[in-house]
């Protein structure tokens, strides 16, 4: 047992939080070293905790903004370097033509703060906890204003609170801010994208859930008993790293499951999945009742292979997503011969206590494969076996159980199915002219999608999906009606219209010069994208066609074929029951 040391240190995580940054926190610390000294001691901010009613926000604000602008990103966020390297390595690959023309505005990055998205976390008393990016001084000023605004409106009554701020320009929604007020912390999200309030709330809830999963509610309550407590001094570097990763993933849309509120699973023959289930069940027979709460095998990229669960119990998708993201962000450098025993709070399961997770990576043919990047921009996340127990002391029991499962899987020759799962391709389905689709089964809370073409720009694809999704949903995130079919088509306005447009108003022409140059390139690419979202009580389908003139009837026919194919192959595509004990 080479990693018993790491197990011990991790298992005392709860009690030894203050000292955990020390060298004994080996498995977690190895990734953490990437992150910068984010948790440097916070400077005392004079503006906090004064719910004044008459403040000259404007002037204070301008000053901070001006000062902030001068400083060139004094605080580089840790993820950024990695992101840069990643982007760089992707660029090194031979340039491929983008198959998906994009109607969307290019991401800006000029100035001190402008970003497509921003996340703030601060304490209820207004002390900064976390910000996704931006120079610290500017961010502190902004948080101060956010805090003042929140407090001001709460003066109106106990139930009154600030929910959203939306700004509009002549073209429509420009920015949207959403606030999530919890007992001890306040979270703020800003987006310039097409995201509804419900979506932002969901993202904020994930961030909040992460804090809870790391600290547990009970501990948070205890910590915040001290007035003006500064949580930054208590969170570890890996916590900040994880928050960064979560925010980044939400910005890049790398975790589709987060927006869909569902998990992706691998396609397996029903018989294979049955054998995996029976292997898992057999291995748990020796365990005392109550030792094992939940177990699962996860293939690369967070794709579920199967679950092991007590009858009548499931874990909340958010809890699983947080667990997966923890595995992804903190344990990737772990070798497959190592194992981890880590306490984790599952906020949706029980926000007050911890569960204990046994995590072991499955052996892959070549460990070097983990350095490959996927299209989504992720590191390949290794296949994992996770067993969850409510008991702190059951490491050895679960260790034995896990070994048995892995051995039997290897003997049965199933391992390749898990470590190198294949995705079906769009060509497997009689759906002509469809480029890509996402099919979510509401019954299983799982989704599937075909192999993404190597020429597809993931973030553009995700933006299309985001629009398709929002077309069928109202501002609260509910479908517009029980059954909705929403088509969307983006095309470059015809050249003639373009000319007319420019001629008609000189002002407009001057103002829009850069973008009209841009639009000409669209005319060359002749953007003509059609997509569809189809929501019924049993499934959600989001589908994007190839670029080109495609009649609606053809799109609808393909959509029907996709739905038919998915429901026919439900056993293969989804984990229906799992191994129930």
């Amino acid at each position: 047992m080479s990693t018993s040391g790491s197990r011990d240190s991790a298992s005392t995580r709860e009690s030894a939080r203050e000292t955990r940054a020390g060298p004994q926190a080996l498995p977690l610390g190895s990734v953490v070293s990437l992150s910068s000294m984010r948790s440097a001691s916070p400077t005392h901010a004079p503006w906090v905790a004064k719910p004044t009613t008459s403040v000259d926000l404007t002037n204070h604000f301008m000053e901070v903004a001006a000062r902030g602008g001068e400083e060139e990103r004094s605080l580089a966020s840790p993820g950024e370097e990695m992101q840069y390297e990643l982007a760089h390595s992707m660029k090194a690959a031979p340039a491929l033509p983008r198959e998906l023309p994009s109607p969307f505005r290019a991401a800006g990055g000029r100035g001190a703060l402008p970003q497509e998205k921003q996340f703030f976390v601060l304490t209820a008393a207004g002390k900064p906890i976390y910000s996704m990016h931006g120079p610290e001084e500017l961010v502190m000023g902004l948080m101060g204003i956010a805090h003042t605004l929140l407090n001001y409106f709460e003066l109106d009554g106990p139930r009154e609170r600030l929910r959203t701020i939306t700004t509009y320009d002549a073209h429509g929604v420009l920015q949207r801010f959403a606030f999530l007020r919890k007992k001890h912390v306040v979270l703020l999200a800003m987006t310039t994208r097409n995201e509804a309030e419900a979506e932002l709330q969901q993202q904020l809830d994930l961030l909040y859930s992460y804090l809870v999963s790391s600290l547990s509610l009970r501990q948070m309550s205890r910590l915040f008993e001290r007035a003006n407590f500064d949580l930054r001094s208590f969170l570890t570097e890996s916590d900040f790293h994880n928050l960064d990763q979560l925010c980044r993933a939400m910005c890049d849309g790398t975790h589709l499951g987060w927006t869909l509120g569902a998990l992706e699973c691998i396609t397996l023959k029903h018989s294979v999945r049955q054998r995996i289930n029976s292997i898992m069940l057999r291995a748990t027979r020796g365990l005392a009742v109550g030792t094992l709460l939940y177990g699962m095998i996860v293939a690369p990229d967070h794709r579920l292979v199967s679950v092991l669960r007590p009858k009548g119990h499931t874990l909340h998708t958010t809890d699983l997503q947080l667990l997966f993201s923890m595995v992804e962000n903190q344990l990737q450098l772990l070798h497959s011969s190592q194992e981890v025993w880590v306490p984790l709070c599952f906020p949706k399961f029980n926000g007050n206590g911890f569960l204990y997770c046994y995590i072991k990576f499955l052996p892959t043919d070549t460990d070097s494969a983990s350095n490959e990047t996927t299209l989504e921009g992720n590191m390949h996340i290794k296949p994992t076996l996770i067993l969850i127990s409510p008991q702190k002391s059951s490491f050895y029991d679960l260790h034995t159980c896990a070994s048995e499962i892995l051995d039997n899987l290897a003997v049965a020759g199933i391992m390749p199915h898990i470590t190198a799962p294949s995705r079906f391709t769009i060509n497997d389905i009689p759906a002509p002219l469809v480029h890509h689709f996402i099919y979510k089964s509401k019954k299983y809370v799982q989704y599937v999608m075909p192999e993404t073409s190597s020429t597809t720009d993931w973030s553009t694809l995700m933006k299309y999906y985001s629009h398709l999704r929002s077309n069928a949903l109202d501002s609260h995130g509910n479908p517009l009606s029980e059954n909705v079919v929403a088509f969307a088509r983006w095309c470059a306005s015809s050249g003639q219209v373009q000319v007319e447009y420019c001629d008609s108003s000189e002002e407009l022409q001057v103002e829009d010069q850069p973008s009209s140059i841009f639009s000409e390139s669209f005319v060359e690419e002749s953007l003509n994208m059609t997509g569809l979202s189809w929501i019924t009580p049993s499934f959600e389908l989001y589908l994007l066609c190839n670029n080109g003139e495609i009649p609606k009837a053809v799109v609808m026919k393909s959509a029907r074929n996709v739905v038919g194919w998915c429901s026919r192959n439900g056993h293969k595509l989804f984990v229906s029951e799992g191994a129930v004990f």
Partner: protein, 663 residues
């Protein structure tokens, strides 16, 4: 409604702290318990917060989008605060508690429109040198605007998507005409006439059908003549605003700005009250011009002239002599009121038309009855002041825009001549109206041209009185004519009122009665009218309102399928449409060159098409229950990728016809 405020933070930046109050130009609280005025400090801190929100958002913007923010919507748990920058540095903010049913566009539109009304009357805020003067004017116009809306909040919500979301455009009438002879007649005979040429800047002719739901497409501006009339949207929307607020009571008092709404108490007599409940449909067309200016002005005049009020006979004789002596218009006008009851023979003789606001109004009346002074913009010139006269013919309204220094308008002969010419033109116009009903019946549409600001729309106009009719508990509204009111109260009291019924039905020559001018007809018990039937329908389907489910309807139904919806459903549908439409309008796209089409099919039968492009926004509404097999098969065969073309033959034909017309 919570409050409305106008402020200019730039003032504050210049002044010392103690001068902070100077930035606040207007603060009006709608709270019922207004005995305790909001402390100045509280007002300022609220304004500070709103400004803080504005700046807060600003800091997250990309440099190139900074300054492009038009408005900010702040949602609290219960309230919401909306701030709009109406002029460089001048902001308007509005707080409301509305249960989040409606999109913020509803309020943004009212904010901007109240500003535009102010601007038409008083010019831009920055032109005011005196802060006190500006505050007074704002009080007069902006608060007046919002007070009326507070009394009839339904007016805010009972709007179609076209007026809510395309508030910077103006609706045009799509009245089908065989020829355009009347236009050239007006051009040659009036606009280019040697007498008018120098003074008459423009004429805007509106058609305001009184049964808006059936003929929504015909409602709006029929024609204006000046090539680049930049204030046309504001002027038009001002007219539409008065029309929606006073509906069938649109009169010279309304146009003169001498009418305000107030909640009528029980102590008042029925006279002068605008009753909205259960009016028979036969009156719908008549109500509009019933209370046109002349009778009221004459009443006033008679008062001073006759000098005593000994009895009704004196008054009547006075009125009669005035009527006959003044101009023939007035007498025609009176008979109009009784037209439904008279036979058709007299119809041809007495067609109602005449000036609503003109120097022909009597001396004793305030100036605004003789002309309205508006600041308007033509082409790229600086905005200038113009004098506006108003004229009507049936349900057409014509606005004359004169240069301010044009003295000819004081010449009665000149006005008489114009009246006669315009009357001829309107007869030509009437004659060329295509009456056959080949309107697209199976779908409703709205098109907004972003360059010309024209709105074509066949979405049924909502009349908030429709909605109010099922809320019997509401107090009836009372129209108060400022200044003239007391006189009127006196005149209409007692015997005069009791004689009313007979005067209406029997005596055509009796002359205008003062009561008639402001009073709506007595409720009739006869449920024969289609309008009354509508109410029964409404009650029948009330249970379904929540679901807004469309039904398959017989093909024989004329008008669009929406016409048969109850007001409540229609209202809900419009709220839904606005939400969908705002959903598609995003700044995320590259600003030029992208057209996005969206087609939504909901299981309640709604088929909703919307497309946005840099030049034009189009929306089409269909009931897919009504698509027959043939249409469906036809749609399947369609090979065009355009989603619009997949909506069926009727939509395609309409679209093609429209495109051809444009070219």
């Amino acid at each position: 409604m919570d409050f409305i405020a106008v402020y200019n933070p730039a003032v504050y930046a210049k002044e010392a702290d103690s001068e902070a109050w100077r930035q606040l130009l207007l603060y009006h609280s709608f709270k019922e318990d207004a005995e305790e005025p909001t402390p100045q400090n509280e007002k300022l801190s609220l304004i500070g917060m709103i400004q803080g929100i504005w700046q807060f958002a600003h800091n997250f913007s990309e440099p190139e989008t900074r300054g492009s923010v038009r408005y900010v919507d702040t949602q609290l748990e219960r309230r919401r605060v909306i701030a709009v920058e109406v002029e460089d540095g001048h902001f308007m903010a509005f707080g409301v508690e509305d249960g989040k049913r409606y999109g913020c566009e509803y309020y943004v539109r009212e904010l901007l429109q109240s500003y535009h009304v102010f601007r038409l009357h008083c010019g831009s805020m920055s032109e005011f040198a005196d802060r006190g003067e500006l505050t007074d004017r704002l009080n007069e116009h902006v608060v007046g605007y919002w007070q009326a809306l507070k009394l009839v909040p339904e007016a805010i919500y009972a709007s179609t998507l076209a007026s809510v979301c395309w508030h910077d455009g103006y609706k045009v009438s799509e009245l089908e005409l065989r020829d355009r002879a009347w236009e050239s007649y007006i051009k040659n005979e009036i606009l280019l006439d040697s007498e008018s040429f120098l003074g008459l800047k423009d004429m805007c002719i509106y058609k305001l059908p009184r049964d808006g739901r059936r003929s929504a497409a015909e409602y709006g501006l029929l024609r204006s003549f000046a090539p680049e009339f930049l204030s046309l949207p504001e002027l038009s929307n001002w007219v539409y605003h008065l029309d929606r607020l006073f509906e069938t009571a649109l009169s010279s008092h309304v146009l003169a700005g001498h009418v305000r709404l107030s909640i009528g108490g029980d102590e008042q007599e029925e006279e002068g009250e605008l009753r909205h409940d259960s009016q028979p449909a036969s009156d719908v067309g008549a109500r509009m011009w019933r209370n046109v200016t002349m009778p009221i002005s004459m009443t006033y005049d008679t008062m001073s002239e006759v000098g005593n009020l000994t009895g009704i006979n004196t008054l009547m004789s006075g009125l009669n002599s005035l009527t006959s002596g003044f101009s023939s218009m007035t007498s025609r006008l009176v008979r109009r009121a009784d037209r439904q009851n008279s036979d058709t023979a007299s119809l041809s003789l007495h067609v109602d038309h005449g000036f609503l606001i003109s120097p022909l109004a009597l001396e004793a009346l305030p100036e605004s009855y003789r002309y309205r002074r508006f600041q308007l913009r033509f082409s790229t010139d600086e905005p200038q002041w113009y004098r506006l006269l108003f004229w009507y013919y049936k349900d057409y309204l014509c606005i004359f825009i004169f240069h301010e220094n044009f003295d000819k308008i004081w010449d009665p002969d000149y006005l008489q001549a114009i009246d006669a010419k315009l009357y001829d033109a309107m007869l030509q116009l009437e004659g060329s109206v295509v009456t056959e009903d080949n309107k697209p019946g199976r779908f409703a549409y709205g098109v907004f041209n972003k360059t010309t600001k024209r709105i074509e729309c066949s979405l049924p106009l909502l009349r908030f009185s429709d909605k109010r009719s099922d809320e019997k508990s509401r107090q009836p509204l009372k129209m108060v004519v400022a200044g003239i009111d007391e006189t009127l109260q006196f005149l209409t009291a007692g015997t005069f009122a009791t004689n009313m019924a007979t005067s209406r039905t029997n005596d055509e020559h009796m002359g205008p009665s003062a009561t008639n001018t402001l009073r709506m007809p007595e409720p009739t018990d006869a449920p024969s009218s289609s309008w009354t039937l509508d109410i029964t329908k409404l009650n029948l389907f009330q249970g379904l309102n929540e679901n807004l489910r469309l039904e398959k309807m017989a093909d024989t139904d004329s008008g669009t399928f929406l016409d048969s919806l109850s007001s409540e459903k229609l209202l809900q549908l419009n709220v839904e449409l606005c939400r969908l439409y705002t959903g598609i309008r995003r700044s995320e796209y590259n600003k030029a060159g992208i057209q996005e089409e969206q087609l939504l099919r909901l299981n309640n039968g709604i088929l909703f098409y919307i497309s946005t492009s840099p030049t034009e926004d189009v929306l089409i509404l269909k009931n897919w229950f009504m698509d027959d097999k043939y249409t469906k098969a036809e749609n399947k065969r369609s090979t065009s990728a355009s989603l619009l073309h997949s909506l069926g033959g009727d939509v395609r034909r309409w679209w093609n016809a429209r495109t051809n017309r444009e070219q």
